[in-house]
Amino acid sequence: MDKPLLTIEDLHLVFGQGQNAVHAVRGVSFNVGREKVGIVGESGSGKSQTGRAIMRLSPSTVNIVAKKMDFDGIPLLQQTERQMRQIRGNRISMILQDPKFSLNPLMRIGDQVVEAYRVHHKVSRREARARALKMLDAVRIRDCERVFNLYPHEVSGGMGQRVMIAMMLIPEPDMIIADEPTSALDVSVRKQVLSVLDELLRQRGTALIFISHDLNLVAEFCDRVLVMYAGRVVEDIAARDLHKAIHPYTRGLLDSLPKLDQPRDVLSTLQRDPIWRDAPTIFHPREVR
Amino acid sequence: MIDNEKYVSGWSAWINAPIPDTPLQARIQLLWESLRRFAANGSALFGLAILCILISMATFAPLIVPHDIFDQDLAKQLQAPSSNNLFGTDELGRDIFSRMIFGSRITLYIIALTAIIVGPVGLLVGTVAGYFGGWVDAVLMRIVDIFLAFPSLILALAFVAALGPGIDNAIIAISLASWPPIARLARAETLTIRQSDYINAIRLIGADPLRIILRHVMPMCLPSVVVRLTLNMAAIVLTAAGLGFLGLGAQPPSPEWGSMLASGRQFILTSWWIAAAPGVAILLTSLSFNLLGDGLRDMLDPKHG
């Protein structure tokens, strides 16, 4: 793989201080190129915090330290807030879980998409509107003109999430971080939304970090999977090789899921081993193609 | 989750034990956590301190007053603050400092009685209206609306005018004006709580509505009601002072702060201390309740259960 877009080396996130300090992320390192990388973990694994740290959107009580956190050569930790604002939404975008909470309920959908563009590009209103309509079409919303004038509560969850994707992709970022983008959606709608996202990412060569608790979903959708546990990456493996995973936590997760093609009377349950907290990452090198 | 034991001493071990052995221990642990949260708030502690001073003043009044509060001495009228009379004397030669201290008893009496009446009544009406909905809700809320339509001082005035002046009537009047917002608040909370799965679960057990309201809904409404009541105390103090000012509260020669303020009004340019002393007392009391209420709100944060 040629030079990665995002390089993170030894990222640490600590909440609070002293005795009550919570070490949410403990030495995470990975690279992301123009590909889809999934970060999988359960609650408390630190996956969402990692995503937010890249965007420098962590709460003010958090202490972020890393040997390296570079995006396209820009050291993210050294940027001022002002400089980060140029990057957020413009070069790196974020899609959140529930469009009910991430879209402004008081603004029409079209206006929000237009705003997402005009914040970073100085164009006339008319041109921004035309681009917004084109973007709504690109996320396969039929009848864009009508939806343009609707409020978020007037559309379904799946459509709201596609609007979110439109808003995040319209400024043509280099990378998208998606934090549980389909968890609030019905299973049948998920596939639709993900296929829209996939198409747009491929067309534009945008990188994706997909954060989720759903191991199978991530394995299907992404190129590479990072499994997080207790603030560390325990395994870094190509998505199609997931069934060959070695780390006992990954294996434990895979085995504990009920499977349609393997009926079992009793599901195997994960036996947590304290060793996992500090063992080194099992890294499966990318194949040279 | 409560952390592993890190302390050796008895009390610390007991209060931080991860697995409580008795229900009492579990409840005290919870209370301790809440108190620690409260103690972290500086202004709330300040408010509490002022309140404690007030209560001590009221309790030990006969022991600390330097002069008799009814003792008139016209030779000594309108004297400025001095070592003999800390806050000076009023137009009848009475010591203002002593009267202020006794006045705190009246203020606390009004506050306590009002809270005891308004809290339970508002809570009951609000939760019943919110839980049952339908015509019960409609009737109860229209009653609340009627009371809310009047500004509280006017309403209190009307009742006192009808019942006659005096401290107990003033308390009734203030209570009647103060309960509706509590009922509204309790109803709003109940509407949300009613939808929760834990209420559904209790319904499925076969509990009757009264049990559900008393044991399940009310405990959840209690924090907001307590905070609201505390913040309302400030307003109640001012309403009581207002009634006293208008001569409709405690009657002379009773040292009620509001009436002291009223009589001080005509001397304000020459003998400012007569109005200033009760005025500052009213201010500090109101302030302390406001700060306390804010602190209670943080302490009783629903996020912790």
Partner: protein, 249 residues
């Protein structure tokens, strides 16, 4: 085999006059004692509504719900409620935040006037894999999996014959889901319980239930078996589309 639970033409609607629409309509099926049946469908198909009507949370339904041939009144009587309990989806919302575990488990016994309460509470805490160490804890001191166990214990303490399960593992972490599913299966075998479960996850459904009703737009489209789900085979076109859409890959 006589049906343990029989549901006949169950329906419920909402709205006034020309806004009136049926949320569920003409729902009929039977469950034998000890069977495990599921309801599956897209969001908004009404599966949770069916469960709530059967439980008695929503008394305004039309149609009949009967236990062993005896029709249940829409506003359930106490004794009827004892026979059927429900496990809710969100463990963070189904326990009263201010009540400790012991009180949560005691209350059903007090309301139903059952004896030996302390003993029963201990038994049921052991049965769900929590020990008596958990008696005096409050919900915010418990993890999601532990809370769900307490919720299940609360259901079991009155010795019901049937459990209604509303997405019991959807809000839990993957690793905890397996434990709770194993617990539910074990309890069913030990106590000969009858299950009616709602979930959106096909794999969980096939694991737990032997017969599954596919619902759409408030109606039951067809009944299939767990074998059919695994093989991806349905009789109706909608059912087939549904299975195809929901299968991974």
């Amino acid at each position: 085999m006589t049906a343990f639970l029989s549901v006949t033409e169950l329906g419920i609607g909402m709205g006034q006059d020309d806004q009136y629409r049926r949320i569920i309509d003409d729902i009929s099926f039977e469950i034998g004692r000890g069977e495990s049946v599921g309801l599956i469908g897209e969001s908004g198909c009404g599966k949770s509504t069916v469960l709530r009507c059967i439980a008695g949370l929503n008394p305004d339904y039309d149609g009949e719900v009967a236990l062993e041939g005896v029709q249940l009144r829409p506003r359930r009587r106490k004794l009827e409620l004892r026979r059927m309990q429900m496990v809710f989806q969100d463990p963070y919302a189904s326990l009263h935040p201010r009540k400790m575990v012991r009180d949560v488990l005691m209350e059903p016994l007090v309301v139903q006037k059952m004896d030996r309460s302390e003993e029963r509470v201990s038994e049921v805490l052991d049965a769900v894999g929590l020990g008596s160490r958990f008696r005096y804890r409050f919900p915010h001191q418990l993890s999601g999996g532990q809370r769900q166990r307490v919720a299940i214990a609360r259901c079991l303490v009155t010795e019901p014959e049937m459990l209604l399960l509303d997405e019991p593992t959807s809000a839990l972490d993957v690793s905890v889901q397996a434990e709770i599913l194993n617990l539910l299966m074990r309890l069913r075998h030990e106590r000969n319980l009858t299950y009616l479960m709602v979930t959106h996850d096909l794999a969980v459904m096939a694991h737990v239930c032997s017969r599954i009703a596919i619902m759409h737009d408030g109606r039951i489209i067809e009944m299939i078996s767990d074998r059919d789900i695994r093989d991806g085979r349905a009789q109706t076109p909608y059912g087939q589309d549904f299975l195809n859409a929901y299968r991974p890959g």
